[in-house]
């Protein structure tokens, strides 16, 4: 049997007001995107508790994408600024503990009108994760 190409599983937490709309538009406009991002719609990127990200990784996600509005354009004024601080903190934790989850985690700003940008982000991040290969904790029993 021919070996199947690895398609990463990426959990995407998309802000309802921007990235989610952009993803929707990208789909409707039939922009080419890999089928790797599994979308979880959240009301704001600031809603993403670090536990969501950890949970996604520890249940075997190959990557986690958090996408929200550009700084200054948050529907709730400041949710994305908080998301950015949390992302920085998570990356710092991953780096200190020598976990490669830092490379598998991405925070991106995508406004509602930027459907092509969303397709780019999805494509680029999928490619990055593909290079890293399947998550080493996919079949780990002790979590």
């Amino acid at each position: 049997m021919e070996e199947q190409e690895f398609t990463p599983k990426i959990v995407g937490f998309l802000c309802n007001w921007c990235a989610y709309t952009a993803a929707d538009t990208a789909g409707v406009s039939r922009l080419q995107m890999p089928p790797s991002v599994m979308v979880v719609r959240v009301m704001c990127s600031g809603r993403v508790d670090p536990l969501f990200v950890l949970s996604a990784f520890l249940r075997g996600g190959d990557g986690v994408l958090v996408a929200g509005c550009w700084p200054g354009q948050c529907h709730y004024q400041k949710g994305n600024f908080h998301a950015r601080r949390r992302a920085a903190m998570l990356k710092s934790i991953f780096e200190t503990l020598g976990l490669e989850m830092g490379d598998r985690f991405r925070l991106s700003w995508v406004s509602a009108s930027e459907a092509p940008r969303f397709a780019e982000v999805a494509k680029g991040f999928t490619e990055e994760v593909k290079q890293l290969g399947p998550s080493p904790i996919w079949d780990e029993v002790f979590l």
């Binding site: 536990l51 949970s55 949390r86 934790i93 991405r106 991106s108 079949d139």
Partner: protein
Amino acid sequence: MPEGLKINKGAQEAVRELLCSLLESGRVNGVLALGRTRGANGGVAYSLFTDSDAFVADGAALPFLPFMPANAGGLLSRLTLKGSLAGPVAAVVKPCELRAFIELVKRSQGSLDNLLLISSTCGGVYPLDVGANGGLEERLPRYWEAVKQGEVDSDVRPVCRACVHFVPENADITVALVGEEDLDTQCTLFLDTEKGAAFVKGLEGLQGTSLSGELETEPIQRSHSQRAAYREELFAGVEVGMQELIRTFGRCIGCHACKTVCPICYCSLCYFDSQDCEYLPEIYESELERKGGLRLPPNTVFFQLGRLAHVSVSCVGCGMCTDVCPADIPVSTIFSKVGTSVQALFDYQPGKDVTEEIPLMTFEEEELAQVAT
């Protein structure tokens, strides 16, 4: 230059007498300090004394005993959770406990009003099991000898040996202990705030000469660099990488004692104790099918990483979590190491300034541009 007092008595004795006078004069309604509980099997616990006779009886109060049965920061939060105390209470706490309390006050879990906070430069504390197994008394002479020299006894907890914040912040009164060679006969204390000075001013029964000097003496600086070096060494010993983390945290029995004793973990219902962490049978089944096995109880690495994400920014490195871990996981070493890097990221020092916002509760518009891509 900070104002202080010199009292011609041993440090412990002098502070005990100071607290006694405060109680007798009615300047404070109570004193929170370590004390020996009554009875033949009396142990040492944080106690709230309201009676000066009980306070001095049989050396019941042990203000600077190198022992931490609970983080007093959490206890102070409990005393003031529903509002400030009706009358003034003095509390003798260690620097890390004070920092923890400040972090809790920032989270609206306590109030600084009506508290007279007394702390000291700290030579570390012994692990809980040393105290529980009666090993404390025999180590005390050694401990105080080390403190006088500005050294740290090798038996104190690793995270205390690696502590670089052993000079208290935000204390009303600071007692100098580390590097004070004559602490058996002399007590030097600094009145860091107006509140501290007001409580002591004109206090009956207190005989001391005023002094003005620096708390940061040469031995303290020396101790600081020694501890900083040990800190590097201790942190370098933390095994990093997913497999290593799984090995370390895989020992976790899921008792959540680290969370219970952690002063920063204040949530009344922890996510990890909630229904959200109880999986449906289908989830167990699908995990089993995929992995061919599942470690029970689950969520060991998740629990520790999740707790890191929630508290590392405010971790004061008090070491209680390692003390209570029945599986001997070096929790506080890992938390201190991660805490140090997260706190450096936001240029934040937990417990330093009560008016400074917790980094995750605030932001600047122009920052961290490299995080988002």
